[in-house]
Amino acid sequence: MQRNMLVDAQALPLQRYQTSVLRWLVTTNHKDIGLLYISASFLFFIVGGVEALVIRLQLAEPNSRVVSPEVYNQIFTMHGTTMIFLFAMPILVGFANYIVPLQLGARDMAFPRLNAMSFWLFLFGGLVLYSSFVLGGAPDAGWFAYAPLTGTDYSPTHGMDFWALGILMTGVGSTLGAINFVVTILNMRTRGMSMLKMPLFSWQILVTAILILFAMPALTVDAILLYFERAFRAPFFLAQQGGQPILWQHLFWFFGHPEVYILILPAFGIISEVVPVFSRRRIFGYAAIIYSGIAIGFLGFTVWAHHMFVVGLSPIADAIFSLDSMIIAVPTSIKIFNWVATMWGGRLNLKTPMLFAIGFISMFMIGGFSGITLATVPVDWQVTDTYYVVAHLHYVLFGGTVFAIFAGLYYWFPKMTGRFLSEKIGALQFWFMVLGFNLTFLPMHIQGLMGMPRRIYTYAANTSWGDLNFLETIGSFIIAIAVGIFLWNVAVSMRRGRPADGDPWHGHTLEWAVSSPPPGYNFAVAPIVHSRWPLLEENPDSVAEAHFATDVTDIPEETSVFPLVVAFGLGVAVYGLVYLYPVLILLGVAILFAGIVGLVYEPR
């Protein structure tokens, strides 16, 4: 009790976040950037969701022409690209930005301006990608863009150029961000926080950041090769001219499979925070969760060709990648068992974050089982490239990642705003989401087994796929309602939500030791921790004491406009590269260099 009163004293008024729009353009504070990431990527989530609804409307009945096949191909390509690169990844980075420095007891990220640059590169990359819709045609070769369909012969619009370069931009942002997280986590933990006393969310972010560092170069190379092929007729992937179409797939999936873990490990981190707090127990198997996360990250680099069992690799290669893929299921099940065991003997507090965490464990498990069926080579030969895979990946990325994202949003919203999201509306949203999600994606398993390939814009009436498709379309609109309920909850709760103190959930980790929302500098004096659960085990006063050691209200907010300038310059250069317009390229590069020079010589 005493602890709560203490941490509230420094509460920062919500109004601070509404003072000036300009402030958001120059901020380098990790919490501001976290909020920017979360809100921008949620907007992309809504756009990608609308694309999903168009897909579902088109497929609701056979031979439908809601959109033309050309538009349909652009829509599903952008749906996948958006949800992976512009929503799931950046929103998780947003959580990490906001929460990791707080969990570490740090004042900010190691490189605040680099952090801002990462955000602006992501945002401009996304906007560049989306501008292709109005500039003659969006990308239309699927989110994994298999060559040679991406060549100028088969995809003559500039869509794929925008895709390659837009992905490249967001990829540069992700790489810089990953460097920032690794440095921050390794060097900026507060006094007493050894690696094995670090909170589990921060641990999973560390593994994720290392994955990004090693996976992203493969995608970067792939995107550059594709751009060179399209712009300068360098036939890297064109068989008739001596290229190799499979090269694209190896490079893409060498990125693409670790990417799946980049999207799920932070989700594991969120669940590993939420489950113990709402079970009112310490996490069961703290070390096992860390080691299994590291194992997943490492093994994640050895399984990429399980996306390629039908391209005609040798049976031996298929067997090896199949074995590796199955081994990954072991550390994954360890995590699930540990979460379930954490609930055992606890006193469950079934608030919305916990509902979403339970939903996550249940839905993700189904995705895991379908993953094992896909990891066996013979079954994969039948069901790969069908709706069975669409079902599988949505159970992992929606039932998994998106449920965890909502768990995180409900869990940390009070920390970010000083107000709770409504519990009643939250429970309503949860049940709509569970119902809509399963109605949409469960029947897709069956459709795949019935022979419905993925990425077809329509199907004949004499197939037996129509009824299930109609059901799925209804389900997708129930999901849309659930997202609408969430937005309503945010709108209501921002203004009239129940006020939250610094530690509204009785949390275990340091982000709950400061006020909600935290002051710009987080901690006045670095707290000292002696255990993995500083707020549970230590005399709460000692944590708070550090916090109030000195009067720090006059610590200046540091800002910089140059991260924005650098990202803007790269965006301008990208348009020049798409249209091969040298003046624009030079202008963009000039702006970019001006930004870098500014960063270097900016007085700090």
Partner: protein, 342 residues
């Protein structure tokens, strides 16, 4: 939390209904080859094992949710002394590892079966009579089926005698496609610059569906084919018919033929024994013997042929055949010609 149980009930019902629907139509679970049968068996084993494990783990989870969320005083953190934590961790690491090891070994046994050509009952001539080489060339957006040993080139319909082992080689003329009929067995990609091989032994007479399953552009949805498995005698007569030269034309059909040979048609299509040797489009030598056309999306009727010639894009938008702006008379003559190519 009981509401969760209630909410899952319609889902279970849904699965049941879908399973019934699945039983009534072509699917992975209606195999016509030992290859597809073995995959169906493996899938069944996996679904049963996964289902059992899911029921146990999810049941435990929901039991904990029900058991530990009610009737207990709210308050500070509950602490339960957990003895033998290490032993528990080892146990639940080993358990999935053992199950997965078994699954992996079973799947490898089946993989070995799938990539091995089944031994023919006899040797020499008898053996070769039981195998049939088929070369599949995928095009945007139709399928070419060649029988190199029989000198046959056809499109969108793969004929095979019941009991034969098909040694299928798959190539692509443009982008990546994937050759798949769920009743035959696993799919295999058609990749430019590469020849992939697969094996199916067809054991049941019938007319089955298949479709491209790797996204290949605008008409990916309409790149279908038929697998026609027939008794030996019927297949042999089909072979004789396909090997025969193109029919001799009389009357309207002859003027249609003339138009075909003088027009743009020969740039893309082949009619054996004539000057028409184009290879961009399907070989039309025995066009009228096929049940469907246009990537197996249209029934081969007079009506559809006329519609197709009026505007190929109207029946199947995006396909590579241009609208030749033919007059109604020309269309009738060409339709007569095409219908005579038996």
């Amino acid at each position: 939390m009981l509401s969760f149980v209630r909410a899952t009930r319609p889902a279970l019902l849904l699965i049941l209904i879908s399973a019934l629907a699945l039983a009534g139509c072509e699917s992975v679970f209606t195999p016509i080859s030992p290859q597809a049968q073995s995959i169906a068996n493996l899938a069944t084993i996996l679904f049963v094992v996964a289902g059992l494990v899911f029921v146990v783990v999810e049941g435990t989870l929901l039991y904990f949710v029900l058991r530990f969320s009610r009737g207990r005083p709210a308050g500070e953190t509950a602490e339960v002394e957990t003895k033998n934590e290490r032993r528990i961790e080892i146990a639940w690491t080993a358990a999935p590892a053992v199950v997965l090891a078994i699954v992996f070994i079973v799947s490898m046994v089946i993989l070995r079966f799938l990539v091995t050509q089944p031994a023919a009952p006899g040797m020499g001539a008898a053996a070769s009579a039981q195998t049939l080489n088929v070369r599949v060339v995928a095009h945007q957006w139709w399928w070419e089926f060649d029988y190199p040993d029989l000198g046959i080139v056809t499109a969108n319909e793969m004929h095979a005698p019941v009991g034969a082992t098909l040694l299928v080689s798959v190539e692509s003329a443009d982008v990546i496609h994937s050759f798949w009929s769920p009743v035959l067995g696993g799919k295999i990609d058609a990749i430019p610059g590469q020849i992939n091989r697969t094996i199916y032994t067809v054991t049941k007479v019938g007319d089955y569906g298949g479709q491209c399953s790797e996204f290949c552009g605008v008409d990916h949805a309409f790149m279908l084919f038929r697998v026609i498995v027939e008794p030996r005698a019927q297949f042999d007569s089909w072979v004789r018919q396909q090997q025969a030269p193109a029919a001799t034309m009389t009357g309207h059909a002859a003027s249609g033929e003339q138009m075909f040979m003088n027009g743009a048609c020969i740039g893309c299509h082949t009619i054996n024994g004539t000057i028409a040797r184009g290879t961009l489009g399907p070989n039309l030598t025995h066009f009228a013997s096929r049940g469907t056309f246009a990537g197996s999306t249209q029934q081969n009727t007079r009506d559809n042929i006329v519609k197709w010639l009026e505007d190929p894009q109207a029946l199947k938008s995006g396909n590579l055949m241009p609208n030749l702006h033919l007059t109604p008379d020309q269309i009738q003559a060409l339709a007569d010609y095409l219908e005579s190519l038996r």
